[in-house]
Each structure stands twice: as structure tokens, then as C-alpha cells.
Symmetry: C2
Subunit: 259 residues, 2 copies
């Protein structure tokens, strides 16, 4: 049996009680920390809090050598821990499909995910988010290699009055900041010249779910000058605002606007 367990967003306490019990009773516990980074703790902290050995797994080990995990899961009760909700990453969906093909039972124990937490923190309605986009670091830092996808997604969602959740790239070397992301969007604005970003309100969220979370709403320029502190960062491009959403942005995210 292979059980996928989400750790939620920040600390070892963001796992559900059901997930915690599963960790205690599993034969083998793996931790895959590359598709989604846990903000406030690492594998050793998890070992200490959960009181058991936890084996690290790289994304490559899951993608290129899944047989090792699957072989274990045919005879043992194997558990795979991951930040956020365990089924957001395609890598894990793929592993679940491979397990199915080998007749291995799978189970999912869900956890809070950035997809749900961001509307909650900002007060923006979950019903009014359109398609999500990821902002990636440009290949070899070249402006011409920047993908149009985030720009096109914001434009499409905005034309329907919808908000866009913008996830920021995490690589082995670097975690993208809100400033990095806004600079990339600025480059895309220059490329397109459509003025899409001109009156756009953004909400930046740093260290979602932690004690020192920071949430700040404003135009591109305001957020570029704002000090969000260390990653993880995430960004929302705001669509049409219901009055209660606007009130929430003013009160919980310091939006300065005449109501």
C-alpha cells in the first residue's frame, strides 16, 4: 500500500491528525521536498516531531526510479510525505498511476494547500479564481526566454473579472521572490505593450501559514518597493472586486484605496 500524505504549508503541525497517525503506523516513510517546499521545517525536524526515521527522496528519484518505491509498496505499508496537499504535483499523480498498474492500493491524506489558503488569507472569494499560472525563472536569465503564459492567463482571467493565483518558481538554487516575479511581469508588459498591468492590483503573500506571514496589496510599483522578507512568496493578480473582497484587502492587506 502506498499512502500520499500532505504536510500542509508551514510547520510539522500542519499535517492532519489522520496524517499524523498514518506516519506513526507506516512501515517506511519517505519525504519528497522538491515539488513543494515546506516553509518552516526540514526532514530532521519532522523526524524529531514525528519520532521516527524519515527517508529523503528527490523529485528525480520519484520520476526516474519509481520502481524502488513501488517494490517496497508491494510488501510494506509505504508513506510519502510532501509539502502542501500531496496531489497537486503531477509527479505524484504519475506515481499513483504506476502503483495502480502494479495492483498496489493507494490512499491520499489531504492537507491545506496554497490553492485554498490564499483565498482564505486575502479574503478573495474562492469562487472567483480563474486558471492558475506559474511564473518561472527565464532560461539563462534571458528576457526573450520568458514565457507568455502568466501574462496570457492574467489577461484571460481578468477579461472575465477573475483573480489569478500566481505560483512562483522554486529551483534547487533559488526561490523566486515577489519582486522577481513582478520584474518578469514587467518585462512581459513591455513585450506586449497592452497596459494590462497599469491598473492591476496585486496581493503578495510571504510565508503563508506562518506566525510571521506578510500580506500586502497594491499596484505593481508599491509591491516592488515593499519588503516581504524571506520566501516562500506567492502572488495574486486581482480581478473585479466585490465590496467585501475590497474591504478585506484594505483591512488585512493594507490596500490603500478610496472606497
Amino acid at each position: 500500500m502506498l499512502t500520499f500524505v500532505g504536510l500542509g504549508l508551514y510547520s510539522a503541525k500542519d499535517i492532519t491528525v489522520r496524517g499524523f497517525e498514518a506516519v506513526k503506523s507506516a512501515d517506511i516513510v519517505y519525504f519528497e521536498e522538491y515539488t513543494s517546499s515546506l516553509g518552516g521545517c526540514d526532514r530532521l525536524t519532522l523526524e524529531e516531531v514525528f519520532g521516527r526515521k524519515i527517508y529523503p527522496l528527490s523529485r528525480e528519484e520519484i520520476e526516474n526510479e519509481p520502481e524502488k518505491i513501488l517494490l517496497h509498496a508491494t510488501s510494506y505499508n509505504v508513506l510519502l510525505l510532501t509539502g502542501g496537499d500531496p496531489m497537486i504535483a503531477t509527479t505524484h499523480v504519475d506515481l499513483r498511476l504506476r502503483a495502480y498498474d502494479r495492483g498496489i492500493r493507494t490512499n491520499i491524506i489531504h492537507a491545506p494547500s496554497i490553492f485554498t489558503v490564499v483565498p482564505g488569507i486575502t479574503g478573495l472569494s474562492s469562487y472567483k479564481f480563474g486558471k492558475t499560472a506559474t511564473i518561472s525563472f527565464p532560461y539563462r536569465d534571458k528576457a526573450e526566454s520568458i514565457s507568455d503564459l502568466p501574462y496570457d492567463t492574467i489577461k484571460q482571467n481578468r477579461s472575465h473579472g477573475l483573480h489569478t493565483l500566481l505560483l512562483l518558481d522554486i529551483t534547487h538554487e533559488r526561490q523566486m521572490t515577489i519582486k522577481d516575479a513582478l520584474e518578469i511581469l514587467e518585462t512581459l508588459e513591455t513585450r506586449h505593450g497592452e497596459g494590462l498591468m497599469k491598473d492591476l492590483i496585486f496581493v503578495g503573500i510571504a510565508r503563508a501559514g506562518s506566525e510571521d506571514m506578510v500580506v500586502k496589496a497594491g499596484g505593481m510599483k508599491t509591491l516592488m518597493e515593499f519588503d516581504f522578507g524571506t520566501p516562500l512568496h506567492v502572488l495574486v493578480a486581482v480581478g473585479d472586486l466585490h465590496f467585501m473582497e475590497e474591504e478585506a484587502l484594505c483591512k488585512f492587506a493594507g490596500l490603500e484605496r478610496d472606497l
Copy 2:
């Protein structure tokens, strides 16, 4: 201080460890079970599992008499439990804003939500969901009172290749089933005559997150004839399928289709 704590989707064990600790240390614990129903347990079960008194609150008590809760929260550490993630319901955003106006500190402890769990269960990519819609019971059961909103939302999302999460109405008397929802969509199809539902794949999910969860994908007719068992039910209208999403629907949701 007023802390909003999500209970997740099904049992008393779907709360996070952080949430569980907050319940134990709070002065007063309320449970609001009307904006989002917890599938597998009620207030008395929660009292037993959490080992403390939990006071019921109706949606009306929060919306019409928030002062009682806020008065308590000025002097005590008050906690409000709710199914799913605590900040999906506008009612709770409104209460948080009122607390802010009175200078009461608020805190959110997130939990797994249907918005995240549905992509995970179905294998449909979180990135490819468009706007969400709710299917409501028609006023006095009259077909002409059925809102066009779910139809228009599916149509708009589908035109961009996106999936639509369809939440089903819960009233004091009745919980909408997948069959009820599909009948409403069929009535809308007759009204519009655009053939939108003709080739549409739906995924029905019953009792998400429980041991006896049922997930079934297929056309409208297939799902109408399928026995999903008791609520809670939820529905997805599928957009364009990536091959891995299609594989997941075939393997985990019994979609019959030539690949």
C-alpha cells in the same frame, strides 16, 4: 482573540495537529455546521473526540447576531470550528472583518478543502480549473427559477479548455445529489439548446475523503444512472484532458473511453 479553525472534509481526524491543539487550549469553542457540512461526524462526536464542550452556532446566529461571539472574543480566546477550510464561506470573512473593526485579533488555522481535494482525488490538474459554480435547488422547484450561472460558467471555462468545480446545494431540509444536479443542468440545456452537455464528461464524487468515497466519470446519462449512495456529493464538468488526466479518470474514476 478569534480563531477560525477548519475541520477538513470528513471525520474529526481531518483537523490539523495545530488546529487540534488550538481546540484544546481555547476558552470557548463554537461549531458552525451550516455553511459546510462535515460528512462523517456531528457536534457530539467532536465533543467526544476533542474531550470538551462545543457550542453549536447556526449560520443565522453568526450573520444576524455576531455581537455575542465578538463580545466573548474581546475577553476570551474564542474558537470557531467549521467544515472544510474555515475561510471559504463569506459569512466567516464578514465575521473576521467585524472582529477587525472592534480591534479583536483573528487567526486562521486552515484545513483540507473541497477545492483542493477534488483535483487530488480525480487526478485533474489544479492548474486547469476555471471559475467555480454552485448548483442551487430551484426556488419552489420551478424550472423557470433555475439560475443560468452554472451553465454559463461551464460554457466559459470549457471555451478555454478548463474544468469546472460544481458545488451542490445544502439546505436545512435537503442535500443535493449528483442526480439532482444533472437534472438541473439538463433543464438548462433544454432552455439553451446549445448542445453544451452533449459530449461533456462529468466526474461525480460522493463522500469525498471518507473510507467509502465513490468517484465515477462519464457522460451525463451514465452518471444519472449510477448509484453514488448518500451525500455529500460534488461534481466536475471536465474541460480539455491532458493524457495523464485522461489516464487518471480511466483508472481512478472508471471512465470508459478509447485512449
